[in-house]
């Protein structure tokens, strides 16, 4: 009986593994499979694709899309995956199956197509021209409370570079909080300005670090720059109730009246005992003198 159970479960496991590895089992109608990708592979679309990938796909499929993420998932750079048409991949991303969630509501169609393009480029990096290095400089306007990023070429001529998407962040304890518009592209003078949001809490002095990044960009290599300003409200590390002295507080937080009373009783009782003993000795001494 037990043997039968074991062999049955082995068969089941093999069967289920087969289902996972063979993407052919996930049936996609030919209409959907033939759906053409409306986006061309260009650096701008690729940036959208890479941003979307790192936001929505990276956690499970891994940073290199090799399936080594937080859960075991199919590799997106394998031959089996890549031989599917764009239409098939689009259908699978939108509908989802088992552990793969449906991204229909989460992502725009154009973002999904961009991700597909990005995955195509991952196995074929020569499809986009190599990226170049740029320099990113930050300046702050204290009156307007705004940050201006200036992107220019590395050489001494400081040629301004137009149309670079800059991501602005505020540094927080566990991560970076995005500020500014969804896309902050540099203008003809290579500059773009974002306003500092209101109601931001800084450190104890109200100091906030703003970080600007060129990232996930296929024309320019990643670079970042940071600037600190006292524009936030000062952090008030709370006068929390649980830090007050209370009857249920720990050793170090017991109420003062309790400490006085408990220790007073101990001291009082001991004082009486010591006083009595002292007097007993005095009586004994006095007795000796009297006998003499």
């Amino acid at each position: 009986m037990a043997k039968l159970k074991i062999s049955l479960s082995i068969i089941l496991v093999i069967f289920s593994l087969g289902v996972f590895s063979q993407s052919a089992q996930w049936m996609v109608s030919s209409d959907n499979a033939k759906k053409p990708n409306p986006l061309e592979i260009n650096p701008k679309n690729m940036a959208v694709g890479k941003n979307t990938f790192s936001k929505s796909c990276k956690a499970c499929h891994g940073i290199n899309a090799d399936g080594k993420g937080r859960i075991q998932s199919p590799s997106l750079i394998s031959e089996t995956f890549q031989k599917q048409t764009d239409g098939v991949i689009f259908y699978k991303i939108t509908t989802g199956k088992d552990k793969m969630p449906s991204f229909k509501a989460k992502l725009k169609e154009e973002e999904i197509w961009s991700v597909i393009n990005y995955l195509r480029v991952l196995v074929n990096p020569s499809a986009v021209p190599p990226a170049v290095d740029v320099k990113l400089e930050l300046s702050a306007d204290d009156g307007q409370k705004s940050i201006t990023a200036f992107v220019h070429s590395l050489d001494s001529t400081k040629q301004p570079i137009q149309d670079v998407d800059i991501h602005f962040y505020l540094k927080r304890d566990f991560g970076l909080m995005r500020i500014g518009e969804p896309a902050n592209n540099t203008k003809a003078d290579g500059k773009v300005t974002v306003n500092f949001p209101e109601n931001i809490i800084g450190d104890l002095d109200g100091k906030v670090t703003v970080i600007a990044k060129v990232e996930n960009n296929f024309l320019y290599n990643d670079t970042e720059s940071a600037i600190g300003r006292k524009w936030g409200t000062a952090l008030v590390s709370g006068d929390e109730k649980f830090n007050h002295r209370a009857l249920w507080g720990g050793r170090d937080k017991s109420p003062l009246w309790l400490l006085f009373m408990a220790n007073g009783i101990i001291f009082g009782v001991w004082a009486v005992i010591i006083y009595v003993i002292y007097n007993i000795f005095r009586i004994k001494k006095a007795g000796k003198i009297f006998i003499k």
């Binding site: 956690a59 927080r172 304890d173 566990f174 909080m177 830090n243 720990g250 050793r251």
Partner: protein, 314 residues
Amino acid sequence: MGEKEKDKSRRKFLLDFGALGMGSLVASSLLTESCSKIGPGPGKKVTLLNSKNELVEVDSLYISTLNKNLSPNHNSEGRKGLPGKKFVLVVDLGKCKNARKCMDKCASVHQLRPDQHHLNVLLMQDSEHTAPYYMPKHCQHCDNPPCVKVCPVDATFKRSDGIVLIDNERCIGCRFCIAACPYTARSFNWYEPKDAEKYKDVPYNIELNVPQKKGTVTKCTFSADCLREGKLPYCVSACPNEVYYFGNVYEDAVTNGTTGETVSLSGLLAKNSAYRLMEDLGTAPSVYYLPPKDRALIPEKDNENNSDDIKRKS
């Protein structure tokens, strides 16, 4: 007779304590001496006190300074809490798909047996006609913690940064805290903990609850050891489904453990009409739940867990 014995043990304790203090003094002076001399000649032996309290002789060539905090100092530091912080966890119930990566990670770092949980993913169904959902349940790190109030030996305590911890070296195993906790967040070491052999010589870390001790209570620590290093807790950074947000209340920012996206805490709570568990008890938890709306996976009533249970019973 009893009085005498007590006295003896106290004297012994004082003696030991003095010896230990002297030993560490000698060792530290030796250590600083050896460190101040750069590039000592080979063959020069230095006597050091190791973590097992043994004096050992080491060639001065092999000595290098560590920048790490040694754990004994750490433990008194561990009762204080990190300044300027009060931690908060937000759980998005709509995202949880019962992947259980958080539980696996938690059990592996905290040396937990399969039946012990610092964190448990529960299948919930509020009433007969409502749909079930998965709910990860941690210690709620209450601001008015019933468990801390009942501890007779000051083993469990609330730090200034809001974390409720337990000192397994003080715990006497009375389990009052387990009885007091309305969230069943604590578990007891009824048996020898998992991998007890492996952790035998590891110095106790109050922020990690490791090594666990048989006969003491263990609980979720909000991964205080990670927070000290500025990292997200183990469970938060293990989640593949964007369930957890973690952050500092004073800074009004929480970071998602999966995407790394940082958002405003007040905005997140307001937009999703967040709630806390058993608000009416006045425990003021530090864990917020976002209602299970637009669920990523609607569990079936006879889901894998249930059928697993049924399987085990038959």
